[in-house]
């Protein structure tokens, strides 16, 4: 039943939908703390949006809320995936509808080996060994998921899991952080390949490619992926949006303080 719905949704999205993800006036609390205020943004089909913002501005909270993690209480607003309101769906149903999250700090799963996780995630469709080969992660297959992994190893493990999951919307929380220089090329290329599905034509990518919402601090990941739109989050609210490379250049030159005080550009 769920599978059928998933297939129908998947086939619909390439034909009739234009917006993969739509966030409407989203306000979210964690405990007694407000982490998002009236956030609205869109990720069109086959496009990649980037989230900038200082530490604690709500970037990770936004991704975790889209995934449906239970600590993040939606106070008001809506999350639409392919036009469907998923604001109150449980986590696994969101995943089954095509949302895939690369966490910044995923929990340790003691006793659960990475290969078991990959097998379960792909429902047995992918060979864990083959997946791991791409990122030189073979020796991690029999390790417990995330236990004793370095920052970069966590990133690669998350990426393998996403490859096994094959989502249509990638939520990537700082995919480059902690990744050493030797691995960044591999990680970046793999993210690029996953999102584009190997499509090089921009027009075709917009129709057939996957969508992504990517958090980046350094902007380093933009060397590997095509970003179509950028948003700056400050204090839980969207302070600015526009061309991601222009935003990055501005942030690099003037820092985030400009974005906070700037009244010129308001989100669409």
């Amino acid at each position: 039943m769920g599978r059928l719905k998933q297939l129908l949704t998947a086939s619909m999205m390439y034909t009739t939908r234009e917006t993969m993800l739509e966030i409407k006036n989203l306000t979210v609390d964690v405990g007694n703390r407000r982490v998002l205020r009236d956030v609205s943004l869109e990720v069109p089909d086959g496009s990649t949006s980037v989230l900038f913002g200082p530490n604690g501005s709500g970037k990770s909270s936004l991704l975790n809320t889209i995934m449906g993690l239970s600590n993040y209480k939606v106070v008001s607003g809506q999350i639409l995936l392919n036009g469907e309101d998923i604001t109150n769906l449980p986590v696994h149903e969101r995943a089954q509808r095509g949302i895939g999250l690369m966490s910044q700090r995923p929990p340790n799963l003691v006793g659960v080996q990475l290969k078991d996780m990959l097998r379960a995630t792909s429902k047995g469709a992918r060979d864990p060994k083959e997946l791991a080969g791409v990122l030189d992660m073979e020796r991690f297959l029999e390790r417990d998921v995330n236990v004793g992994f370095s920052g970069g190893e966590i990133k690669r493990s998350e990426l393998l899991q996403l490859a096994a999951q094959n989502p249509c919307l990638y939520l990537l929380d700082e995919p480059e952080s902690g990744v050493d220089l030797q691995s960044i090329e591999k990680v970046g290329t793999m993210i690029h390949d996953l999102i584009t599905g190997g499509i090089t034509c921009a027009g075709k990518r917009a129709v057939e490619g996957k969508s992504a919402l990517v958090i980046t601090h350094t902007g380093q990941i933009l060397d590997f992926i095509e970003a179509d739109r950028g948003y700056v989050l400050c204090d839980g609210a969207v302070a600015c949006s526009g061309n991601p490379r222009e935003l990055l250049r501005e942030i690099r030159t003037n820092g985030y303080e400009e974005c906070v005080t700037c009244r010129l550009v308001k989100p669409t």
Binding site: L69, A95, L109, V112, A120, T121
Partner: protein, 408 residues
């Protein structure tokens, strides 16, 4: 009868009403002494289908494939014994006592007959059981399997087991303790005395699979000499009324080692009082106690005691418990005792429910909540069974899957 024997008998008789140190006091008069004259079988697969089915449920292989030898005790009768490999002896304990005069120095030395009513009753019943001896320097390749099966309602099974691993030898024993289908109430009393000589190694794995109204009172003592190593794996996943056990390893030898791994699930209605104790008296000896327990509605107590009596010893205790659902009790009682300064003794204990962030992390890969909990539970128990033989692990995986633990 020698005077010391008469003395022991007297002490045992005086202890027939003596309650155990832990656990519910069981009324032995409600049970009948198990059959002592059941028909013999020349091979395990000649035993009845019901018996074979029960064996399989406790990790005992009726075909004896991958086993060096086997012994099956039903109620209080040894019904089958087979010795295939070499380098060891496998006998009914009573027969072994007749053949080896020296064995009296090993019998009832690590467990006292007057410890409680269960040891006293077993002592006075002149119990059957297995005697296994690995000959000096012999490495017995495959495991020897024994099965203690209760076949009759209201039976009181009493067994006395002795294992001796001679100098430089190694031995693996797998024992399944199980009640036949149809048996609801019964009691099992098992006295076990294990001797691990100089530079010898014994790996002992016990799987319990009883019925809803069965009471279980094992009493186990282990002695490890210089350079010897003892590994104890205990697994109980299915229903039972009450189990109370507290095996004690005396590490008297220099550099001797003991390792206890326990994996337990307390089903609704069960009371498990499980402990492991290592007394480190040999300089440089080491001990590790690891337990993983889950309650799905029953009560489970995990006791762990480490006693450091000698310099340069190292001992660690790790006890983790999960509470699934809203009923059930999980109690961890770690105890460290140091009597000399040069010791390194540590413990970790934790109890709780499954962490929500772990469940949601797995769910975020598209698995349902039940599937996610199942994965975490299997992983949780996995640490406790990491060192047990591969083929048993597969069996345990199956049991965990069938136990429907995911129903948090």
């Amino acid at each position: 009868m020698s005077s010391s024997e008469a003395d022991l008998r007297k002490r045992a008789e005086a202890a027939l009403q003596k309650k155990g140190a832990y656990g519910e006091d069981l009324d032995l008069s409600r049970y009948r002494e198990g059959e002592r004259d059941l028909p013999q079988a020349s091979k395990l697969d000649e035993l009845s289908d019901a018996v074979q089915e029960a064996m399989l449920r406790s990790g005992v292989v009726p075909s004896e494939e991958g086993r060096e030898g086997s012994m099956v005790v039903i109620d209080n009768t040894m019904v089958a014994r087979s010795v295939m490999g070499e380098g060891y002896e496998l006998l009914d304990t009573r027969e072994a006592m007749r053949r080896h005069a020296w064995l009296k120095d090993y019998s009832w030395k690590l467990v006292q007959p007057d410890a409680d009513k269960y040891t006293a009753s077993t002592y006075l019943s002149d119990a059957t059981g297995y005697f296994i001896r690995a000959l000096p320097g012999q490495h017995v390749k495959l495991p020897i399997q024994t099965c203690m099966l209760v076949g009759k309602e209201r039976s009181a099974q009493m067994v006395h087991n002795i294992i001796v691993v001679e100098e430089g030898a190694s031995l693996e024993v797998v024992t399944g303790c199980v009640s036949q289908r149809g048996v609801e109430a019964a009691i099992h009393m098992g006295i076990s005395e294990f001797y691990v000589k100089k530079n010898a190694k014994l790996t002992f794995t016990m799987i319990h699979n009883w019925a809803e109204q069965v009471g279980v009172r094992p009493r186990t003592g282990i002695l490890v000499e210089d350079g010897g190593a003892y590994v104890n794996n205990y697994i109980i996943l299915k229903k039972v009324k009450t189990v109370q056990t507290f095996p004690t390893a005396q590490l008297v030898g220099k550099g001797s080692v003991a390792e206890f791994n326990t994996v337990a699930v307390a089903q609704p209605g069960a009371e498990l009082d499980l402990g492991s104790r290592a007394v480190l008296s040999g300089p440089g000896s080491r001990a590790e106690i690891i337990s993983r327990s889950i309650t799905t509605g029953g009560s489970v107590i995990n006791r762990g005691t480490l006693v450091g009596n000698a310099p340069d010893i190292k001992a660690h205790l790790e006890c983790r418990g999960l509470i699934l659902g809203n009923h059930g009790v999980n109690i961890a009682i770690p105890e460290l005792e140091a009597r000399v300064p040069d010791v390194e003794m540590t413990h970790e204990a934790s109890l709780g429910k499954i962490a929500r962030d772990q469940v949601e992390y797995i769910m975020s890969r598209g698995l349902t909540e039940d599937e996610a909990v199942g994965m975490i539970v299997r992983g949780f128990l996995e640490v406790g069974i990491r060192n047990i033989p591969e083929e048993l692990k597969a069996e345990i995986d199956k049991t965990i899957a069938q136990a429907e633990l995911a129903k948090g």
